[in-house]
């Protein structure tokens, strides 16, 4: 699962000066993308294209691995065989997605160890939404249904991007996400149609998650650093606002038809413009969480460090001194 927005960093002037691309190669590269052809790992590519793609795919990978934690909290407590098996399979898929995405990023030349190190040091980010706690079982159903739905909107857009290995990974990921959203929706509806206390638990979870969901696609286009170049290179595929609108359009009616409410009195579809109107979420909170001050940032990072440290002796025992880093082929 991954959201849009706040992925890309603008290159500094020095970086731009240090890495001037050969204009002939650049023109050929852009022409290839213009014709809808994919870029493959062994191709020549602009420095900035490689840098931003590594950043994008790596953060996506981290988000999958960290995304396993909030839902993982309910693996041992999931009610009944069906929910328990589905939840383990789902969280397992998230780890699997992380694996696929790290591989895709490695084709650009950055080893998995370096990416994990950047995650542990806080240098590399992951999606904000995973820095909130899943307080009750209902939170798991909200994540499984709505966060996964939001992620699909983003991932389907990205799967039409220009970089071959990322597209291939996303193709499989989107296929699995369609199971995730189904199982999430199923558990969500079970609570919505259940007893009064089940419904109440669900409504409270929905209220808690609405703001993180609205944050998911990133700041409004007018406020975010908008890179025309990244759009032209098909690295960034859809604007934050467009993805958020698409999400609201598909899922708000599915929430309302169950007679559940959303904690925004101004949320409505403007029938004239066809656009959804809503209260701007608190963007200060968004930046606060990105910079490490969310409710669960410390716990998530500490948990990841625990896993890496406790796996260290296992990995160490099997290190093969004859193996060398080779960039994966595809």
């Amino acid at each position: 699962m991954y959201g849009g927005g706040y992925i890309f960093s603008e290159p500094t002037q020095k970086e731009q000066d240090d890495h001037l691309d050969d204009p002939v190669m650049l023109a050929a590269f852009e022409a290839r993308i213009g014709q809808g052809e994919k870029i493959e790992p062994q191709d020549w590519m602009p420095y900035e294209y490689r840098r931003q793609l590594i950043r994008l795919i790596e953060q996506h990978a981290h988000s999958e691995v960290m995304g396993a934690l909030p839902e993982g909290a309910w693996i041992t407590r999931a009610p009944g065989f069906r929910r328990k098996l589905a939840l383990i399979a789902k969280v397992q898929d998230e780890i699997g997605h992380g694996q696929l995405l790290y591989n895709a990023a490695e084709t650009l030349g950055k080893p998995r160890e370096a990416m994990i190190n950047d995650l542990l040091s806080g240098k590399s980010k992951y999606s904000n939404v995973f820095n909130y706690p899943a307080k009750t079982w209902a939170d798991v159903t909200v994540i499984g249904f709505l966060i996964d739905a939001a992620a699909i909107v983003n991932q389907v857009a990205n799967s039409k991007g220009s970089y071959g290995p990322y597209c291939r990974a996303l193709e499989r990921i989107c296929y699995e996400e369609s199971f995730h959203i189904k199982q999430g929706y199923d558990a969500f509806v079970a609570l919505a149609l259940g007893s009064a206390s089940q419904r109440q638990m669900l409504q409270q979870a929905l209220n808690r998650w609405w703001q993180p969901i609205m944050h998911f696609f990133g700041p409004a286009d007018k406020n975010s650093v908008h890179s025309e170049q990244l759009m032209r290179w098909k690295v960034k595929m859809a604007s934050n606002d467009a993805m958020r609108q698409q999400f609201l359009d598909s899922y708000v009616p599915k929430i309302w038809e169950l007679n559940l409410t959303l904690p925004d009195p101004y949320l409505k579809k403007n029938l004239e413009s066809g656009k959804w109107e809503f209260t701007e979420p608190d963007w200060e909170e968004f930046y606060k969480v990105i910079n490490g001050d969310g409710p669960c940032n410390a716990e998530r990072l500490a948990t990841r460090k625990y896993a890496e440290e406790h796996g260290h002796w296992v990995r160490q025992a099997l290190i093969n001194s004859r193996q060398q880093f080779a960039i994966p082929l595809a």
Partner: protein, 250 residues
């Protein structure tokens, strides 16, 4: 018929509890690839429990699987103490997986020709899954046993710690002789002999020492409903949401 019910119940409880324990590693494994593999085996085990409770429900009129697993008193559980222990470090979890799954593989192999058709069918159906579990376990034990000084030491300590618990897998049920005479299951003693032979080979290849365990040190009691303190806590956790409200869909 009580003997066969006992057999199925203890197998189901073992699978449920061990599968639950394995799922505690999901998202926390030593490397992503292994995390995925271990989660699959957790699902397989819980799936085996579901199938076995299903047999109890269909053949013997017991409650449905969810009720048996999520809403039963601790003293009615028949799992061995070995399955109940917390996951500890990865060396312990791998060693438990190795010792337990070799016993599972032989048990299901024996059951595949059982005169009790539902068990024989299940045994044939999950043969492939169990084969993978054993391959996975053997691959790890061999490599970590012959890995670094630290990994060898960890595996040996885990083996020494596990063995008195592992032998508790073979605790006999009262009416086991009925199972043997009726051709349902050839018995725990027979299973244990085959198991020791099989794991001895692997342990030896891994360069580890086979620990000697006096019979009185073996952890028994699980098969008659006496459990470790860990099972109590595990069941509380397992059924926390399920028992919040009964008779509703979750």
């Amino acid at each position: 018929m009580n003997a066969v019910k006992d057999l199925i119940l203890k197998m189901a409880d073992d699978s449920l509890i061990i599968g639950h324990r394995s799922s505690e590693w999901t998202g926390l494994g030593p490397i992503l690839e292994e995390d995925i593999a271990f989660s699959s085996m957790a699902q397989d085990k819980i799936g085996h429990a579901l199938a076995l409770y299903g047999i109890l429900h269909e053949q013997f009129g017991e409650l449905e699987a969810d009720q048996l697993a999520f809403n039963r008193k601790e003293s009615k559980f028949r799992c061995c103490h070995f399955a109940e222990l917390p996951i500890g470090e990865y060396d312990f979890s791998l060693m438990r997986h190795f010792l337990f799954d070799h016993a599972e593989a032989i048990r299901y192999e024996m059951l595949s020709s059982s005169s009790f058709a539902p068990l024989a069918q299940l045994a044939r159906k999950i043969k492939g899954e169990i084969k993978y579990h054993v391959l996975h376990a053997n691959s790890w034990i061999l490599r970590l046993g012959r890995g670094t000084e630290e990994s060898r030491h960890r595996m040996q300590s885990s083996l020494n710690f596990c063995m008195p618990y592992a032998l508790g897998i073979f605790e006999k049920n009262e009416a086991e002789s009925d199972l043997i005479t009726e051709g349902i299951f050839a018995g725990e003693e027979h299973l244990r002999i085959l198991w020791e032979e099989q794991i001895w080979k692997q342990i030896d290849q891994a360069g580890l020492q086979f620990p000697n365990v006096p019979e009185k040190k073996v952890h028994m009691g699980g098969r008659s409903g006496r459990h470790t303190v860990h099972l109590h806590m595990l069941l509380e956790e397992l059924s926390q949401v399920f028992r919040m409200e009964q008779g509703v869909e979750w």
